[in-house]
């Protein structure tokens, strides 16, 4: 936490958790998909569901999915802007297990056919956490360039990925590993201090046993 977490963010109201955090979640989902969104299905949980409408949580999430940031004055008009841009969206409710009260599950399909399902929470003060991607643990803040690699649970993939990062002089800030079962689906979540080049990501996608590579690029 630094002083600009206390003073700030500059944001569209009324709530840092229900509005600013919601915009950021949408924005991060858009970045994770890596292309413009064709369709989005949003399922609200807990307090997002109960008081979201009065806080503009719905408009905020759509604004983020359109690529807006929390201080964008067009946030209140996001539904109309989505209609104009041809992005289809629908809202529903869900009871998620073991998540923060301000949470949402978003499933998006991109204009080039890519799909992703994200569960994310708004933690207060505009800070967020991406909890799950495509059903597997993720747990990252969206404040750093983040590489998410889904692979088959077999030896060697951590070395592949970390050697690639080392060869590009990219420093790892945090690294987490999860799997659903031994030999099943595994996921690596790596928060980096530098951006990862697109060619390196494409290189990883080609490796046998790597199922999907998702990258959070924070360059504007």
């Amino acid at each position: 936490m630094n002083i600009f977490d206390i003073l700030g963010p500059v944001m569209v109201g009324p709530s840092s958790s229900h509005t600013a955090g919601a915009v950021k979640i949408g924005y991060i989902v858009r970045k994770l998909l890596g292309e413009d969104i064709q369709t989005a299905k949003l399922l609200l949980h807990g307090s997002f569901l109960a008081t979201g409408k009065g806080h503009g949580t719905d408009k905020a999430l759509i604004a983020g999915l359109l690529g807006m940031k929390p201080d964008d004055i067009r946030i209140p008009d996001s539904f109309q802007l989505a209609d104009e841009s041809g992005m289809e969206y629908s809202f529903g409710s869900i009871m998620l297990k073991d998540v923060h009260p301000n949470s949402v599950q978003i499933t998006v399909t991109g204009v080039n056919g890519r799909e992703i399902e994200v569960i994310a929470s708004s933690l207060g003060g505009g800070r967020i956490k991406v909890c799950k991607i495509d059903g597997l643990e993720a747990n990252f803040s969206g404040d750093y360039p983040t590489l998410i690699v889904h692979n088959i649970d077999r030896p060697g993939y951590v070395t592949e990925v970390t050697s690639m990062l080392a060869s590009q002089s990219i420093n790892i800030g945090t690294m987490q590993l999860y799997r659903d079962r031994r030999g099943g689906n595994a996921v690596m979540v790596i928060e980096c201090d530098q951006e990862v080049p697109e060619e390196s990501i494409k290189g990883l996608e080609k490796l046998d046993g790597i199922l999907k590579v998702t990258y959070l690029n924070l360059k504007v």
């Binding site: 600009f4 206390i6 109201g13 009324p14 709530s15 509005t19 307090s47």
Partner: protein, 287 residues
């Protein structure tokens, strides 16, 4: 930030022969690895965002619940008329309400420390700048005072209604603004911190009870008491009056009170004003 108490910041200031605000500036440069100029430019742009938000108030707007909007203009219309508190305080009150209403109507504001309490700091700072013609450089220095006090409150206690009730939002904002107000009026570092302690003490125990769970009733009007309380607290401290309980201990007390507060009084919209007959009726209507 590496500091855990206002006392630590004071000792650092004394040791290096600099002011409280300069310690906060230096710490920000160290923490985010930026030059002083970059930090101060960022702070100035934040202050400008507050002024822009104040200037762009639109009295015709209403929140989606229709509960909020238009009151700021009523207060502005009082200026120049025969009011109990006089023009300056009415101006401060108007700015606090305007910002709270802008927030509820999904306009752009600066969370300070939160969106619900976004009217307190700008109402105090902008009004003082207008009255005494302080330079923007001086206002930036005051913003570091605001940030330093806020950072210690966030570190030792909390700044969200969900964790500590409204005392953690409006109370914290009031403490932050009180320190800055006394800085602007020539108070030394000790005076600033006692101003903030007096402000926080006066709002200790304030519960967070938003009707229908929205940042509207009673949040918007509480920005007024936060702003006015910070001015009176600053004047107390500037008169040489000191808080009998040291500032850090007041913050600790705020934490303890918040932790003992029942969850119905911490932003859940289940207690206090939200649980009154009318509060429930409003909630049923808007949700």
């Amino acid at each position: 930030m590496g500091f855990r108490s206002l006392d630590e910041i004071m000792s650092q200031a004394k040791k290096n022969g600099i002011r409280f605000w300069e310690v906060i500036l230096e710490e920000d440069c160290k923490e985010r690895q930026v030059a002083k100029e970059d930090s101060m430019n960022k702070m100035l742009s934040l202050y400008h965002s507050m002024k822009e938000a104040n200037d762009s108030y639109d009295s015709k707007l209403r929140s989606s619940s229709k509960l909020a909007g238009g009151d700021g203009e009523k207060l502005m219309n009082q200026i120049g008329k025969n009011t109990i508190c006089g023009d300056f305080i009415n101006d401060v009150m108007a700015k606090a309400v305007k910002m709270g209403e802008s927030n509820a109507c999904m306009r752009r504001i600066v969370a300070a420390p939160t969106a619900g309490s976004c009217g307190v700091v700008p109402a105090v700072l902008i009004s003082l700048q207008e009255k005494y013609d302080f330079s923007d450089e001086k206002m930036v220095e005051a913003m570091y005072v605001v940030a330093g006090v806020g950072e210690i409150i966030a570190t030792r206690a909390f700044i969200s209604g969900a964790e500590g009730g409204c005392q953690a939002e409006i109370g914290s904002a009031s403490a932050m603004a009180a320190a800055a107000a006394s800085y602007l009026m020539g108070g030394d570092d000790e005076c600033q911190l006692h101003a903030s302690a007096i402000a926080l003490k006066s709002l200790l125990g304030l519960v967070c009870d938003p009707v229908a769970g929205l940042v509207e009733v009673p949040c918007i009007k509480r920005n007024v008491i936060g702003a006015v309380n910070s001015l009176t607290s600053a004047d107390l401290a500037l008169a040489g009056i000191r808080s009998a309980i040291p500032p850090d201990e007041v913050i600790d007390a705020m934490r303890t009170v918040g932790m003992r507060m029942h969850s119905s009084l911490r932003e859940t919209g289940e207690g206090g004003l939200a649980a009154t007959k009318t509060g429930i009726q409003i909630a049923n209507k808007v949700l």
